[in-house]
């Protein structure tokens, strides 16, 4: 049972890092970003290839930087010009980007799955009670906690974090106070996209790389974001924990309906509390 809960936590960690990027981007741009799953997937592949030259950790840094740049570009050429357009237009464009990225990745790396080994020195196992557990999985949990902690401190105590929180609820007023909200969005979309890339890279030793890996985590990330209360960071954290467990226990105990469980959970939460777990930026 402990193993199951830990595995659930691992998936929750990956899900959280992807979801919190979505929350950041949604806050600043009010965009439901389908391309985000594509960035997770591209991050995994970019890390895979860069690792051949720089090793796993160097590859991770390269992938995160590349994805950050892609995010900045996305904001500059898509979100900014389309900010006054119908939301549906932007959503469709991001969906198109997801499809294009899946095709491009398939062209470059092929449709077959690729695998990545856990990097040294996290490639061993550790004794937990009477079971052996892969150290790398614990590392993933630790990275997710570090991201959550870092983001929370940044949002709560830094100037930029204050501007992000303010702009997420009222961009006009924030701009009126002298904050360049366009520039802010650029960096925040970059950050959110880099986080998707980070999640993709650290997921790669756990999951097989395939061009469709982005779509599957994207759906569950949307469920996390909505269940957590659209735009809430704390809500996303709690929802990711919950959905991670549901996802994992479902696969183990009721594999036939596992993929439906997170959706069911979302429906139940939304019926009980239509705003999701939280609404404020805490």
């Amino acid at each position: 049972m402990l193993i199951q809960i830990l595995n659930g936590l691992v998936y929750a960690g990956l899900l959280y890092i992807v979801s919190v990027g979505l929350v950041l981007i949604f806050g600043l741009r009010r965009v439901v970003n389908f391309a985000h799953g594509g960035f997770y997937m591209v991050g995994a592949y970019a890390g895979y290839t860069a690792a051949m030259v720089f090793g796993f950790w160097g590859g991770l840094i390269v992938a995160v930087l590349v994805l950050g740049l892609i995010g900045i570009l996305l904001d500059y050429v898509v979100f900014r010009p389309l900010q006054n357009a119908d939301h549906m237009v932007t959503v469709l464009v991001t969906f198109g980007i997801l499809l294009v990225f899946e095709d491009v990745v398939q062209m470059i790396w092929g449709a077959d799955t690729l695998s990545v080994l856990a990097p040294y020195p996290f490639d061993g196992t550790v004794q937990l009670g009477d079971i052996l557990f892969p150290v790398y999985r614990l590392l993933v949990i630790a990275v997710a906690i570090a991201v959550a902690l870092g983001l929370t401190l940044w949002l709560r105590f830094s100037r930029a974090g204050l501007y992000v929180r303010a702009s997420s609820v009222d961009a006009l007023t924030t701009g009126m106070q002298g904050v360049d909200t366009e520039k802010l969005s650029l960096s925040v979309v970059g950050l959110g996209t880099a986080l998707a890339g980070l999640s993709g890279v650290i997921a790669s030793p756990l999951l097989a790389l395939s061009p469709s890996m982005g779509s599957s985590i994207l759906i569950e990330s949307f469920i996390v974001v909505v269940t957590g209360g659209l735009g809430s960071f704390a809500g996303a954290f709690i929802a990711a924990l919950l959905i991670g467990q549901v996802h994992n226990l479902g696969i183990v105990y009721v594999p036939n309906v596992a993929s439906m469980l997170p959706l069911l959970l979302m429906v139940v939460v939304l019926i009980l509390k239509p705003t999701g777990f939280a609404r404020s930026y805490s």
Binding site: L162, Y163, L172, T173, G175, M176, G178, V179, E182
Partner: protein
């Protein structure tokens, strides 16, 4: 030096044209009232200055610099702070955080958290509570304090008396007069005669999207003022 100048400004929301040639000017240290009935476009004048309404022709200048294109953050960074209609306290932020937001332009001057707390002690008491949890009058103080955090040369207030009890409006007027005496220019958009009289010196009257009259408030009788403002 003119701090704010609008020359023959036309502006629209989408395709709805609202301003049809507004010209006005606020010089250093002046106390100007912008008056007019509901819906004539007073708030749109402010919105045009921050790009929330679209400038279709004419010129907007801050500190004699023509703004082209108009960007939301330029006014505050140029020394023009806005206390918007409805106060627009940012939800989810504490009183202190709302004030710190106001210091985003990072301009030097006498105003900082301490100075604002000294002027409105209630804000110090409520510093760690949510801004939106305060009463209307307190939120108005917060909106003014937030605007002052940028150390502005010109403070634009859009109907600050809206929804406030008469005694609170009197206090508000007194604090605006004090600010003006310390050298901050004021552009006051108002419909409250008392406040217009106590704070204003010059005035502009708007009707149907343009400025139709201007002059000195001292030359205006109570009757005339009333006619310009009430519905």
């Amino acid at each position: 030096m003119s701090l704010l100048e609008l020359q023959n400004v036309h502006a629209a929301y989408g395709s709805a044209r609202v301003l049809h040639g507004v010209s006005l000017k606020v010089e250093k240290g002046e106390r100007v009232a912008l008056i007019g009935r509901n819906g004539v476009g007073k708030t749109t004048v402010v919105n045009t200055c921050i790009g929330a309404a679209r400038l279709t022709s004419g010129k907007v200048s801050f500190m004699t610099r023509v703004q082209k294109p108009i960007r939301a953050f330029r006014a505050a960074r140029s020394g023009i702070s806005i206390v918007p209609q409805g106060r627009r306290i940012v939800p989810g932020l504490t009183v202190r955080e709302n004030l710190l937001l106001g210091s985003a332009p990072d301009r030097k001057g006498p105003w900082n958290l301490e100075a604002v707390f000294a002027m409105y002690p209630i804000l110090r008491e409520r510093a760690d509570g949510l801004g939106t949890a305060m009463s209307g009058g307190q939120q108005q103080m917060l909106a003014i304090g937030r605007a002052l955090m940028a150390n502005p040369d010109l403070l634009i207030l859009d109907e600050p008396s809206e929804g406030l009890a008469p005694v609170v409006v009197d206090e508000l007027g007194a604090s605006l007069v004090r600010l003006a005496e310390q050298g901050t220019a004021i552009l006051l958009i108002e419909q409250n005669f008392g406040l217009i009289r106590s704070v204003g010196d010059r005035y502009y009257v708007m009707a149907k999207g343009s400025v139709v009259e201007d002059g000195r408030l001292s030359a205006l009788t109570a009757e005339e003022l009333k006619r310009h403002v009430s519905v």
